[in-house]
Amino acid sequence: MNLIDKYVAEVGKHLPLLKGREDIEIELKSTLEDMLEDKAEQAGRPRDEAMEIELLKEYGSPQKIASTYNTHPYLIGPRMFPTFLKVLKLVLSIVVIVLLVITVIQAATATSMQGPEFLEVIGKGFGTVLSAAVAVFGNVVLVFAILERTLPEKEIGDLSDNQEWDPASLAKEPSPDMIKRGEMSAEIVFTIIGLVVLNFYPQILGLNFTVDGKWVFVPILSEAFFGFLPWINLILLVEVILNTYLLRANRWSIATRVGKIIIEGVSLAITVILLRMPGLLGFTADSFANSPISAETAQTLVTVLNSMLPIALTVVLIIQGIEMAKALYGLLRINYKTK
């Protein structure tokens, strides 16, 4: 094996896993042989090792030559990158938000909200969020790196937004600072209904039945819950005022977004406290002792409602979290724009 053969073999080792590797090697060897022949002719003496060394030095390192055949030196190429970014942002934000909410719920329900136990749950939670985020990032990169290498070029093109863009669509695009009037009005109406029901018609939130011709009312929510009513009233009222103001102003401002963040923060705190409060349900199976409802049905009712309440509160918690994140995002965007 002469130097040229060894050189060609070395280039082959560094070639990416592509079809035609053998072709490249044969063609390279043939070219080097041609060049060496020219060199010998020019020098007027037969080829020798010194001449081979000189030629190979001119030609360049095997790694460099092999890299020129790699037409696709990307892990994720420019065609795939915009789609990759979109998917990454979406998946990362969903995973992080869900895990953060789970951490808050765990911290609120499994600990006394203070002391080393609470800190441990919070610490572990953030650790989980961080490692999950890294794992999500790695997996999305892996999936796209595989797609990059397996999808035909045409289909990669189809992934990106290559539809014709119409500038008129800009006019239809509402400013992110604009108030969604329908959404805002609905929010005000439902908040007022909630306030009225909680304060004046709490009997709606209960079960009514007759015992010996007399109406008996069993409330779903306990006294402990209604102990929080002043706080709930306050926050709902402030929310109605803010929403009414926004409906008039028609756009978000820094102050209103900060207000919204504070309101959602306090609401989140109240929901978390309610979630970890024992005895939220206003009755036990015994409350139905004299009712037409059998003891078995009463027990099932208690079990079902006892598991439904935390679920309902968790849903509220998630909605509040999203609202807060939206306000926070809007605020950060404003700050970014003004810089």
Binding site: G20, D23, I24, I26, E27, L28, K29, S30, T31, E33, D34, M35, Y59, G60, K64, I65, T68, Y69, T71
Partner: protein, 110 residues
Amino acid sequence: MENDELVQNMLLELRRGILSLAVLSQLSKEQYGYSLLKALSDQGMEIDQSTLYPLLRRLESQGLLQSDWRIMDEARPRRYYVISPQGKAVLSTLKREWSAMTETITKMLS
């Protein structure tokens, strides 16, 4: 020094597009890599082997060139390249575009 590097990079970019046109234009008659390299060099278009061979492979994978192996000498089989019908069509469009472009740029630079 900084300017030299800038100029080198810009020249590299300029040449990158032109090389495909130069290679296509020289392959109406079949040639193997090294003979093409010399033909280009004889006409004043210097090109590195490390640029030419990957370019030939790319043009072939795009269907603009055809190639086949010939064994004249057992130790030195040669791969001959020639422009394909699709390559001819592309070349004639590129030629027209090139003429228009050079005319415009010449006017701008004069």
